[in-house]
């Protein structure tokens, strides 16, 4: 009897440790990034890192590590992708939750899932061979590897998240809301736009924020499709080098435990903090939304 009880306790303890692991990993990611970022940040200084725009680790003479141009580049492709993905995603979600027949939904659900399953490197490849040449022809630029290209691909990456979570938010609106609106003489369109979408608004916002987090952290698509010119972006037609691509390109060539190495970890740390805050806020917003509807 006693052995049985001890065994129970041991099993439970093991599972508890297993549950603890996710917290350890999250904290571990932060601490290891911080540990490898601090030596560089101390040497360069936070102000120069965040407020100047010249990232030139191989400069003749003094290397400079200003991350502002990367931050702006990441911001540009992210905003560009949201301009495409948010209307398209919410529209699709609204169609799926309120207009589509069950049969259409049966087909559409797997489509969204498969879209989410396409590896980012394949999309990046299509950015080079398909979107790039098309953009080059339309805009008269050399190869079409620019911020617009990156935005389009990131929109595709963010769409599945935005669609499925927005649809969840719309579906979580109680039926009585729509029924009341229809009973008062509103038609279906008015019900969708003026009752359901506002009621699901916080959930939809959370979905879009998660999609934004995806876009900011995406590496391969922007690495392959934005041209990676180390310059301050001048517009959506200019080639940009985002934070993620900078890490991806330079970490492979850099000697370990040099200033450059540490500074790449600093970029990673900033990336981690940005996505962490975005995820946290969207989490809080989504929980509030669910609580409100209860």
């Amino acid at each position: 009897m006693k052995i049985k009880r001890i065994k129970e306790k041991v099993v439970e303890g093991l599972f508890f440790l297993n549950g603890l692991i996710v917290i350890i990993i999250l904290a571990g990611i932060f601490l290891l990034l911080l540990k490898n970022a601090l030596p560089g940040l101390k040497e360069i200084g936070l102000m120069e890192f965040l407020a100047t725009g010249y990232w030139n680790p191989d400069a003749y003479g003094k290397a400079t590590y200003g991350a502002l141009s990367m931050l702006v580049s990441t911001g540009m492709v992210t905003i560009g992708s949201l301009l495409i993905a948010v209307p398209l995603g919410i529209g699709t979600a609204a169609y799926l939750s309120d207009v589509a027949s069950p049969r259409v939904r049966e087909i559409a659900k797997p489509v969204v899932e498969i879209l989410a399953g396409i590896p980012s490197v394949v999309l990046g490849f299509l950015g080079i061979v398909l979107v790039g040449p098309l953009l080059a022809k339309l805009t008269g630029t050399y190869n079409g590897l620019n911020a617009i290209n990156g935005s389009i691909l990131l929109a595709v990456m963010a769409l599945p998240t935005i669609i499925s979570l927005s649809e969840d938010a719309l579906n979580s609106v109680p039926r009585s809301y729509a029924e009341a609106s229809l009973a008062l003489g509103a038609n279906k369109w008015q019900t969708v736009t003026q009752v359901k979408v506002p009621a699901a608004a916080s959930g939809i916002v959370a979905a879009c924020m998660l999609g934004m987090g995806r876009a900011i952290g995406e590496t391969m698509t922007v690495l392959m499709a934005t041209g990676n010119a180390a310059q301050f972006p001048t517009g959506f037609l200019s080639s940009v080098k985002t934070m993620t691509s900078t890490i991806a390109i330079e970490l492979g060539e850099v000697a370990y435990f040099t200033t450059h190495f540490y500074m790449l970890f600093s970029v990673g740390l900033v990336l981690f903090l940005i996505t962490f805050v975005i995820n946290l806020i969207s989490d809080i917003v989504f929980n509030k939304h669910m609580k409100m509807l209860k």
Binding site: E8, E12, L14, F15, N18, G19, I21, V22, I23, L26, G28, I29, L32, L33, N36, P87, L88, G91, T92, Y95, L96, V99, A100, A108, V111, L115, G117, I118, P119, S120, V121, V122, F125, I128, V129, L130, L159, N187, K188, W189, Q190, V192, T193, G213, I216, G217, E218, T219, M220, M224, I247, A248, G252, F265, G268, L271, T275, F276, L280, D283
Partner: protein
């Protein structure tokens, strides 16, 4: 009145267009890869190593490398993911601490893949001294897939009715006995399905393996867990951006993309078949 109806018709038309556009994206992606990659897929591509500076030959080592690293990913992510899901669904009380764990999981799933790559470099390559290897890359991908496997496994556990657990407990079984005999057998199909779907994501990832073990070109297959490897997604990246003559190797790149998509498709199909098989077994 008429304007109101017109607005409705036009509005729904716009929503439908959104849906069609999303579907069109998927069609374009597959159409392009399948039509242009189909011609490049041959017996040689699947069974030969790259030759002549990667301008000829096949992608056999990359296929093997991706399979090996995915296996390594599974070794880490499957037990940890299932264990964590069991803790959350069977043992954990609904308290602040549990909510904190759940929040951490959601947050982990939003950590950028390149940050996992940095983490892998700092932890597995450097601190654990695994070097750039299958082991490092597999562990990095394993941690990255963890949130997916946990969520999927928990869904499967939730689907087992409460009465199953209570039945065992009422007969005098301990908690662990009731889980082992009355919960796991019914949840395992769903857990595996979700896990394989998570692994199929890992198989297509590039950013986390860039610095943790993927190699540009290796003449031989990896000999041990500590050797570097070639991987399909990384190979596609190289062929399309890093190769000295990207136009010349474009057919090979298309072939690689198609093989990668097919591999992921097979994993998904396997998961779905497994699910329906096990479901049928349960019914009998």
């Amino acid at each position: 009145m008429k304007i109101k109806q017109l607005k409705e018709v036009l509005g729904f038309l716009a929503l439908r267009l959104c849906m069609v556009l999303v579907m069109a994206i998927l069609v374009v992606v597959f159409w392009d890869i399948v039509t242009k990659g189909g011609g490049a897929v041959s017996w040689e591509l699947l069974t030969q190593p790259p030759k002549d500076g990667m301008t000829k030959g096949g992608i056999f080592p990359a296929i093997v490398g991706t399979l090996l690293v995915t296996l390594m990913t599974a070794l880490l992510a499957v037990p940890l993911g299932m264990g964590c899901a069991m803790y959350l669904n069977e043992y954990a009380l609904d308290c602040k601490f549990t909510r904190f764990i759940r929040m951490s999981i959601r947050n982990l799933s939003g950590v950028p893949s390149i940050v996992y790559g940095l983490f892998g470099v700092a932890l597995f390559v450097e601190a654990c001294n695994f070097g750039t290897s299958i082991l490092s890359a597999g562990c990095t991908l394993g941690l990255m897939t963890l949130p997916l496997t946990i969520t999927a496994s928990e869904e499967a556990l939730k689907a087992v009715p409460r009465s199953y657990r209570e039945g065992a407990l009422a007969l005098g079984a301990t908690k662990w006995q009731s889980i082992r005999t009355n919960v796991l057998p019914y949840a395992v199909s769903g857990m595996l399905t979700g896990t394989i779907l998570g692994l199929s994501r890992a198989a297509g990832e590039t950013a986390p393996i860039l610095f943790t073990g993927a190699a540009f070109f290796l003449p031989d297959l990896p000999g041990s867990l500590l050797s570097q490897f070639m991987a399909l997604p990384y190979h596609l990246y190289i062929l399309s951006t890093q190769h000295h003559d990207t136009a010349l190797v474009r057919p090979l790149a298309y072939g690689t993309a198609l093989v990668l998509l097919i591999l992921i498709f097979i994993m998904n199909l396997f998961a779905i078949i497994l699910r329906s098989r096990l479901r049928q077994m349960k019914k009998e």
